[in-house]
């Protein structure tokens, strides 16, 4: 589904990604771990197409297409979803209105008919309930005054509504208490299917107890330093990142 080859990216002329290779097949869940500053969030931003991140070399192939040639919204419509580390507050735009506009944009691209207002409401309410979000949140401004945990659950709500092919979760576990983590993990697990792939960018292995990955990659200094199975995350937890770097050196 996703093939990243020799990816180099800079932020404000500072190289962050320095030759990253990664291949993810449909049906797989990959965890990308690494110390602060290793380039995890840069990778997520480059995949989603955020301004200010310049790809200087390499390629990203998504479902056989050149992902980097697509505009931000085209990626979203083609099924790429980024759950933000810091979801943006947009006062004055109701969550409901936002979710509906987004779902319409993505569905119409897929050639699916728009939901009626009633169908949409039903879906939004059911999905909110699944994430233990009070339906009142749908009426409020997008993320306006939401707690950290509520913002993260709102991201997962959007993900479940949009049903992406490729979901990238950027530190979605940070700032969640254990109950919220369970709810979010249940949401992510609900999305798992043979047609979809999920990338979880995380600093801690805690989330991986709830969403068990097929592969774990360690990102350091802009490259994948090591890949392995679930046990690699546990090893990192026990030994920290220093061990790997020493090992590599």
């Amino acid at each position: 589904m996703l093939k990243i080859t020799n990816l180099h990216a800079t932020v404000a002329d500072t190289p962050i990604l320095k030759g990253l290779n990664l291949e993810i097949n449909a049906g797989e869940v990959h965890a990308i771990m690494g110390p602060n500053g290793s380039g995890k969030s840069t990778l997520a931003a480059v995949l989603a197409g955020r301004d200010g991140y310049e790809v200087t070399a390499g390629s990203i192939e998504y479902l056989g297409r050149d992902l980097l040639a697509l505009a931000v919204e085209e990626r979203a419509r083609a099924g790429v979803f980024l759950a933000f580390q810091y979801p943006v507050e947009i006062p004055g735009v109701s969550n409901m209105e936002f979710l509906r506009a987004s779902l319409e944009a993505v569905r119409s691209h897929r050639g699916e008919p728009n939901l009626s207002a009633v169908e949409f409401m039903k879906l939004a309410r059911a999905t909110s309930a699944q994430l233990q979000l009070d339906p009142e949140f749908l009426k409020r401004g997008v993320n306006e005054g939401f707690s950290g945990g509520e913002k993260k659950r709102n991201e997962i709500l959007q993900m479940l509504l949009l049903q992406p092919n490729l979901a990238i979760l950027d530190e979605t576990d940070s700032g969640l208490d254990i109950d919220a983590l369970q709810v979010v993990a249940d949401g992510v697990n609900a999305l798992r299917s043979p047609e979809r792939a999920i990338i979880m960018v995380t600093h801690y292995q805690r989330l991986l107890d709830y969403v068990v990955p097929d592969q774990v990659h360690v990102l350091a200094d802009g490259r994948i330093l090591r890949s392995g199975g679930r046990e690699l995350a546990l090893e990192l937890e026990a030994k920290g990142y220093g061990w790997l770097r020493d090992d590599a050196a």
Binding site: D51, A71, V72, G92, E97, F98, A101, S102, A105, Q158
Partner: protein, 436 residues
């Protein structure tokens, strides 16, 4: 269009206006006297020039173009464009001419100046031209000098008028340039309450120089909605002069798009103790449009409150102007006056000029103002686009959100609901690189 120098164009405009005003038949009634006063004042007045402070950001060039003093050809058909789901009692002034009047609900009376008699004539004599004095503003004088007819709208004391009164100032779609000078006097009697929905309609190359005077007796309340949602080639200059009696309440809501020229001169006088004024304005200019709001809140007596909130957005090469003057007279103690504006620039070539002017001669007052100017938040734009919205849709949604604080407060449901598609259409209009 013309290669004449500005001073020559002004001279031609003034001369043409004088000639036109002299063509009205002699008349000793209300109309005749107002015209005579207007003609004299206009002849003595100097038209605004680039050094006139009140016109610093609004050049009168667009008003001087050929044909803008011509009378409208007769027989234009009214373009009825009712607001969906809105029940109103409607008054139309088309191409400057009051149209046949419908029947009104009890307590509401509307009379053309030409048909005034008795007590109504006396009421008009008392108030007309008192608030919008011909001596102070040349275009108010011009309105009087070229007045075809006007309307008196009265709400009887103590009556609570549930059905909104709609006032249409409409320009027909005709191709001929023309100038019209609508005039309306609104008197809301003691303790009465009404809603006035004033709509400026038309996008043709025409000059509308309107004067609306509103007198609120003690304890009266008027919710005044002003909608100007036709962009285009229209030249709209609107004087609105309001006076409040004791404990009267005046709430003004404006939603306006820029046009070739649109300027509102709004003067609100708190003349009775404990009067209350709120002004909420949402403005959007696109392409090379112009929207100028000149406000003057005059606190003349103690214990008045006024709150003004504005949201303005300017895109492309358009220009938005807001001049908010608060004048607290000597002795107007315990006044509470506030002015808050937020502006949003969608383009590096757009311009918004915001100027608060505070003049305070009393020492026990609260007076606050705040102004911010910004651009759309890049993070929010990215967030929306990452959810599949295209850039135009994302910008529109965020711009709506910016205006929502004002627009969501509009008191008439059907108007509030109509504003959304109207603004959406304005946002969706294609960007033009250069002025037509």
């Amino acid at each position: 269009m013309t290669t004449m120098k500005r001073s020559e164009r002004i001279e031609v405009f003034a001369r043409t206006a004088r000639t036109r005003s002299e063509n009205f038949p002699a008349d000793t009634g209300v109309l005749g006297r107002l015209r005579a006063a207007g003609r004299a004042a206009f002849s003595a007045a100097e038209l605004p020039n680039p050094k006139t402070e009140a016109w610093k950001y609004s050049r009168i060039g667009p008003l001087l173009e050929q044909g803008l003093l011509d009378r409208a050809p007769a027989g234009a058909a009214a373009t009825a464009r009712p607001i969906p789901g809105l029940d109103v009692q409607s008054i139309a002034i088309l191409d400057g001419i009051p149209q046949p009047l419908p029947t009104f609900t009890p307590g509401v009376s509307v009379t053309s100046f030409a048909a005034l008699s008795g007590a109504e004539a006396a009421a008009v004599e008392t108030h007309l031209g008192r608030l919008a004095a011909v001596s102070e503003r040349p275009f108010v004088a011009l309105n009087a000098a070229l007045l075809e007819d006007g309307l008196l709208i009265q709400v009887a004391p103590g009556v609570d008028v549930a059905l909104p009164i709609e006032l249409l100032l409409a320009q027909s779609d005709g191709a001929a340039p023309r100038g019209v000078h609508p005039r309306v006097l609104v008197i809301v009697g003691q303790g009465a309450r009404a809603t006035l929905i004033e709509r400026h309609l038309g996008a043709a190359m025409a000059f509308t120089n309107s004067v609306v005077e509103v007198v609120l007796a003690d304890g009266a309340q008027l919710d005044h909605l002003r909608l100007a949602l036709d962009a285009g080639r229209g030249r709209w200059l609107s004087a609105l002069d309001v006076e409040l009696g004791r404990a009267a309440r005046y709430h003004l809501w404006q939603a306006q798009l820029g046009a070739a020229f649109r300027r509102n001169e709004i003067r609100i006088r708190l003349a009775g103790e404990g009067a209350e004024v709120t002004v909420s304005g949402a403005g959007l200019t696109r392409n090379n449009a112009h929207l100028d709001n000149q406000l003057c809140l005059e606190h003349r007596v103690p214990r008045g409150t006024s709150t003004q909130v504005f949201r303005n957005i300017a895109g492309e090469t358009s220009r938005g102007i807001l001049n908010g003057r608060i004048h607290i007279h000597r002795g107007a103690q315990k006044t509470d006056a506030q002015l808050h504006t937020k502006s949003l620039l969608l383009s590096s070539r757009a311009e918004i000029d915001v100027k608060p002017e505070l003049e305070i001669y009393a020492d026990d007052v609260k007076c606050a103002h705040g102004a911010t100017l910004g651009q759309l938040d890049a993070n929010a734009l990215f967030y929306l686009r990452s959810r599949g919205l295209d850039e135009t849709a994302a910008r529109t949604l965020l711009s709506f959100a910016f205006l929502a604080e004002v627009v969501d407060g509009f008191p008439v449901d059907a108007v509030r609901e109509a504003l959304r598609p109207a603004l959406a259409q304005a946002f969706a209009a294609p960007a033009e690189e250069d002025a037509p």
